[in-house]
């Protein structure tokens, strides 16, 4: 979001996040994940470190780091426990949307608090009948004086309980054709009368992080919270925000895959079979080699997508490719890690089974990989049109 971050600074930032993960995240990751406990004690540390302001411009109190550094931070956090990256994942989609499309008043009012972690954000897009088909949302926002009245239900909302502000997608013109022109995006802040957090979802992976249903029942939002101050822009705003989300999800996938790879290499050197470490058996070496090559390729794709975003170029193609490839690699590498570990990898004694449970989130989240393929194909056909 800011000027390119220097290599020296990036290394220090990665080292800092690695230290944080090692000292404070890894010791609790397995236990909290198993018990589905939110890591409240990490929040003050993450605020102090500045992790809530990574891509918020410096003039609004953020760090103004570029997207390559942003991706590196998400990778490191996810190596320790992917759920921790979720605390700041959609937070940064909201901050990005406000940074790019918000009015000056909205930027000054919201972003400094987001950078400090006083406001912790999320994205309220998905509904039970609208995920991949985002234009099919049924949540409505009806103008009433200086306010909008919101009605609807959102599903699968990360940080839904612990977050306190959301980029809320709602239809301000349900009859609009094309449909996307009838969609607007609001900054929705808690507490608001008529709003409540519904069911917390019990998930396969991504545990510890609250993923909730949000219920809006005649909720009133000030007109000042319509992002950019203009109706009908919300779909484009959120889709652009999701491109940053795809970089972060792809980076998370690289982090989990790297953790699975490192665990496999370490374990294979210790575990003996047929009188020697299994790392000396060719069957295991072939697995490790394939895992390492895939993770490396995925990482380069993420950095490439991030670099394009940093340079101001259109990167929807690269972001979608990186998200598609990295998440599939994550799933494959997590499975291979379990094969390398054998029975012990299937138990909760080691984090390998967590990597395996976390991997599908990256395949399904932030646009399913089937949607990614459509994004890629459409962009390719557009790029090579006559």
């Amino acid at each position: 979001m800011g000027a390119q971050t220097s290599e020296e600074t990036r290394k220090q930032i990665v080292s800092l996040v690695r230290d944080f993960v090692k000292r404070d995240v890894e010791p609790i990751a397995n236990a909290y994940d198993n018990e589905d406990i939110y890591p409240h004690e990490l929040i003050p540390i993450m605020c102090e470190l500045g992790l809530f302001g990574i891509n918020i411009p410096t003039e609004y109190g953020g760090m103004g780091l570029d997207f390559t550094t942003f991706a590196m931070i998400f990778e490191e956090l996810s190596k320790g426990w992917m759920s921790v990256s979720g605390i700041i994942g959609t937070h940064h989609i909201l901050s990005y949307i406000i940074s790019v499309y918000g009015t000056e008043e909205q930027k000054h009012r919201i972003l400094p608090k987001m950078a400090k972690g006083e406001i912790r954000g999320g994205l309220a897009l998905t509904e039970s009948e609208a995920g991949s088909d985002a234009q099919n949302i049924s949540t409505t926002a009806v103008k009433d004086g200086e306010e909008y009245v919101i009605n609807g239900r959102k599903m699968f909302i990360s940080n839904g309980d612990n977050g306190n502000a959301f980029a809320l997608m709602a239809k301000t013109d349900p009859k609009s054709d094309p449909r996307h022109r009838g969609i607007s995006c609001f900054i929705f802040e808690k507490p608001t009368d008529g709003f409540k957090v519904g069911r917390q979802l019990d998930k396969l992976g991504y545990r510890g992080l609250d993923t909730c249903e949000l219920i809006f029942d005649d909720c009133r939002v000030p007109s000042d919270n319509l992002i950019g101050g203009e109706e009908g822009r919300g779909f484009g705003q959120v889709m652009n925000g999701l491109e940053t989300g795809r970089i972060n999800v792809a980076a998370r996938a690289v982090g989990v895959a790297q953790a699975a790879l490192e665990a496999s290499v370490t374990y294979s050197k210790k575990r003996l079979a047929f009188g020697k470490p299994i790392s000396e058996h060719q069957a295991i070496q072939l697995k490790l080699a394939e895992m390492a090559a895939k993770v490396h390729a995925a990482r380069l794709m993420v950095y490439d997508a991030a670099r394009k975003k940093d340079s101001g170029e259109r990167n929807d193609l690269e972001a979608a490719m990186a998200k598609l490839f990295a998440s599939e690699v994550c799933g494959e590498v997590a499975m291979e890690a379990m094969r390398v570990h054998g029975g012990v990898g299937y138990t909760k004694d080691l984090p390998v089974e967590r990597y395996y449970r976390d991997a599908p989130l990256m395949i399904i989240g932030e646009g399913t990989n089937e949607i990614m393929k459509l994004v890629i194909a459409r962009r390719l056909l557009e790029k090579y049109s006559d």
Binding site: T9, K11, Q12, S15, L16, D19, I45, L49, L51
Partner: protein
């Protein structure tokens, strides 16, 4: 009155370098830096930075200057104290500083401290994790003619004095000394704080001042080693794994304890 705090810090090989990546060139009597594993700031030196930051917070008005001597500084590593909150950094970088012994290091650092002006408190890590000699702080205090308070677990600033609780194997002793003085710390002083992203960004805009031995009126012969390293090698170790099995976990633990006692390990 503004307090001048000097912290001596050292860049060392990462002590968590896996044994498989640790190599010694026995002919050259040198440790070969591990490929792909960056060095770190010595752990106790980070404790020293933490101690200095706490004193600064208590004093209100203080300047923390970090000084290091060497010849191959990795800047993103060495800037960590600045990212944690130290105000400035001086690197004494010189080819002759490549293989200093403790006496040479103390000579260079004490000269550098003198050159900075009046230091009120000098804080050093108790020892560095590369050679674990713990000689340098004592050498600096001797050369500067100031008191050395070792192994501080707490530091309280008085009016022109400092009170230090020094860890001992059976408790601690409390000493008071006039300023200036030198204090050594280890991990009992408290966990080093994390740098912050903002701290890293601010540190990126600071350029450490670089001096050579010449800037300190020192020649290579002034810091030539007083000690001769006769031999350097990695001791051979035979690893043997023995599985202790009991009827249950408690029984296994009891049998393990008996075995360890039998082997005179406990």
């Amino acid at each position: 009155m503004s307090l001048n705090i000097i912290v001596c810090a050292k860049q060392v090989m990462d002590p968590e370098t896996p044994l498989s990546a640790f190599n010694v060139d026995e002919a050259a009597k040198r440790v070969v830096p591990a490929q792909g594993i960056p060095p770190v700031v010595n752990g106790f030196c980070e404790n020293a930075v933490e101690a200095a930051l706490k004193i600064k917070e208590a004093a209100g008005d203080a300047t923390i200057t970090v000084i290091s001597v060497g010849n191959d500084f990795v800047m993103d590593v060495m800037k960590k104290p600045l990212s944690m909150g130290a105000d400035q950094m001086i690197l004494i970088q010189d080819p002759a500083a490549e293989n200093l012994d403790a006496l040479g290091t103390a000579t260079v650092l004490s000269k550098a401290i003198e050159k900075t002006g009046e230091a009120d408190i000098i804080i050093c890590g108790q020892q560095a994790s590369d050679w674990d000699n713990a000689h340098v702080p004592l050498g600096i205090s001797e050369m500067l003619g100031v008191a050395c308070l070792s192994e501080a677990r707490s530091i309280d600033l008085g009016d022109g004095t400092v009170t230090v609780a020094s860890s001992r194997s059976d408790g601690y002793e409390v000493f008071e000394a006039p300023l200036p003085c030198l204090i050594t710390v280890n991990n009992e002083i408290g966990q080093p704080r994390y740098p912050t992203l903002r701290g890293i960004m601010q540190a990126s805009r600071k350029t450490p001042e670089t001096w050579t031995l010449n800037d300190l009126d020192l020649s290579e012969s002034d810091v030539s080693p007083a000690l001769t390293l006769s031999e350097l090698f990695v001791p051979a170790s035979d690893r043997e794994c023995q599985i202790i099995e009991g009827e249950d976990e408690a029984d296994s633990g009891r049998l393990l304890a008996l075995k360890l006692r039998e082997e005179k390990i406990i």
